[in-house]
Symmetry: C2
Subunit: 147 residues, 2 copies
């Protein structure tokens, strides 16, 4: 049996997450993006354009709440909704060129923020920390969300 000699995992993770999110918020605000908008945009960044239902599932965002995010992103010209020619019930959500540029800027700024946060760590410790984080998070189903 292992004796408790450190704060609980939940506490540590919560505090750290809180700090990271607090540092991300002003970065995204500079682009006019609330956190959820960025999550959605980011989910669109990598691959091909999904239907809204798939987007909602991928981001963990509630299906009905996603709509407002897409409305906003669309009004900024960062994504485009178009009817699916194959099944006109669906609407295909695609990231635009401007969306990709914005996304790239955000990611660069966030990466730099993370460097700032983790920069003090010993290089190998940081390496291990990040890989363990990726490993643990990787085991937990395919959820992508921030919530």
């Amino acid at each position: 049996m292992r004796c408790v000699d450190r704060p609980e995992l939940g506490v540590l993770l919560s505090r750290l997450r809180r700090e990271v999110l607090a540092r991300e918020t002003p970065i995204l605000e500079r682009e006019g993006l609330p956190m959820w908008d960025y999550v959605v945009l980011s989910a669109l960044g990598g691959g091909q354009a999904p239907t809204q239902a798939r987007l909602a599932a991928a981001t963990g965002r509630d299906k009905t709440r996603l709509i407002a995010n897409l409305d906003h992103l669309e009004s900024l010209g960062l994504v485009a909704r178009s009817p699916d020619p194959a099944d006109r019930r669906n609407r295909i959500v695609a990231i635009t060129r401007a969306g990709e540029r914005t996304l790239h800027r955000c990611r660069a700024a966030i990466a730099s923020m993370e460097d700032d946060l983790l920069g003090d760590l010993d290089a190998s410790a940081r390496e291990t920390f990040e890989s363990v984080l990726v490993d643990l998070a990787g085991r937990l189903g395919p959820t992508e969300a921030l919530r």
Copy 2:
């Protein structure tokens, strides 16, 4: 400049935290404790009994919301509120014997849950991971909260 080669920190931390909290919930439920009640009880566990205002600050819990938590914990006999003899505006919140027993059970179950979650890791990787987590969380002001 460091190129992004892994999911963002915020995403990883959010997912992991979500999982840990999801595993904690049923443990606390077995004791009849919502998450926030446990946070409050846990904050009371270590040291001396604080005033409610200090408790709110220490847990990050809203001052007005804390009241309901204390009401509940008191109704379960896990904490006791008594007027501060030195300043009768204050109410001193103290954990009871039963509260300490409950807290101890929760902590043991949570530690075991954490072992289960981290058990697959290489021992030295786990060591590094936990110490980095403690290190990073330790830099962020004295907040104790789970929120």
